[in-house]
Symmetry: C2
């Protein structure tokens, strides 16, 4: 018998790492059914909660979904860029931006604890794939 909790977290993290696309908790659950046929939502949420609290995964608030952390050191918060066309999510170091945000809100006496910085737009690959600025339906194959 392998240690259950660690195994679950490792399996969830492996699923999230397959592609840099955000997965909903229930998509993760489906993907887990291979290894854990009887799995139920609380187990997935517990694993995701552990992973996110350790910084090994992040919840993409504006997508209600989760991605694996892409940062090696993960200093402070990060910026997540989300491609509206292919779903690709990329993590960017945000040290200076976090400083700037904290500074802005500090002007009204607010003390910052946790930052959520997400950007929706079009990734480099999709920009290259559809250079036309004219109304083009979003349908590129995911990266």
């Amino acid at each position: 018998m392998t240690t259950p909790g660690e195994q679950m977290q490792a399996d969830v993290l492996a699923i999230l790492r397959r592609r840099n696309v955000a997965l909903s908790a229930y998509k993760v659950l489906e993907a887990l059914r291979d290894a854990h046929p009887k799995i139920a939502p609380p187990a997935v949420y517990r694993a995701l909660s552990s992973l996110t609290s350790k910084g090994q995964a992040h919840r993409v608030e504006s997508l209600k979904a989760y991605v694996a952390c892409q940062s090696k050191v993960h200093a402070s918060a990060s910026i997540l860029s989300i491609c509206e066309s292919c779903g690709y999510v990329e993590e960017h170091l945000a040290g200076e931006v976090v400083e700037a945000v904290s500074h802005v809100v500090a002007e009204t006496g607010f003390s910052s604890q946790h930052h959520v910085i997400e950007v929706h737009g079009i990734c480099a690959a999709c920009n290259a794939r559809m250079p036309a600025p004219e109304g083009v339906g979003a349908g590129g194959s995911p990266q």
Copy 2:
């Protein structure tokens, strides 16, 4: 000059404006029952969708809730600061921060369209109310 859900949107906006605290769509729905006894979720979501698309209200992604816009002009995106103690939400101009975020993600060829910038922490009033750094239960009266 009867734009879509004019009355409904006005009622929703009035509810959101009562206090600068984020309300879930279902809290809004409850508050609407006075004026609209038979209201159902889709009507609320339609009104919220219209208001947010016009910039008169914002969805607080990290709270799954909604606030009235506090900006007069609402140039570009804004920063929402969210007090973990009293729930007070404040909107801040974010022009330079949006620039900085866009610049960071542009380094990988990402073109920004929509920004989500939210900060959790403690507001000035709650900081003043609980100066002790020792374990104090959060229970201040909302602003």
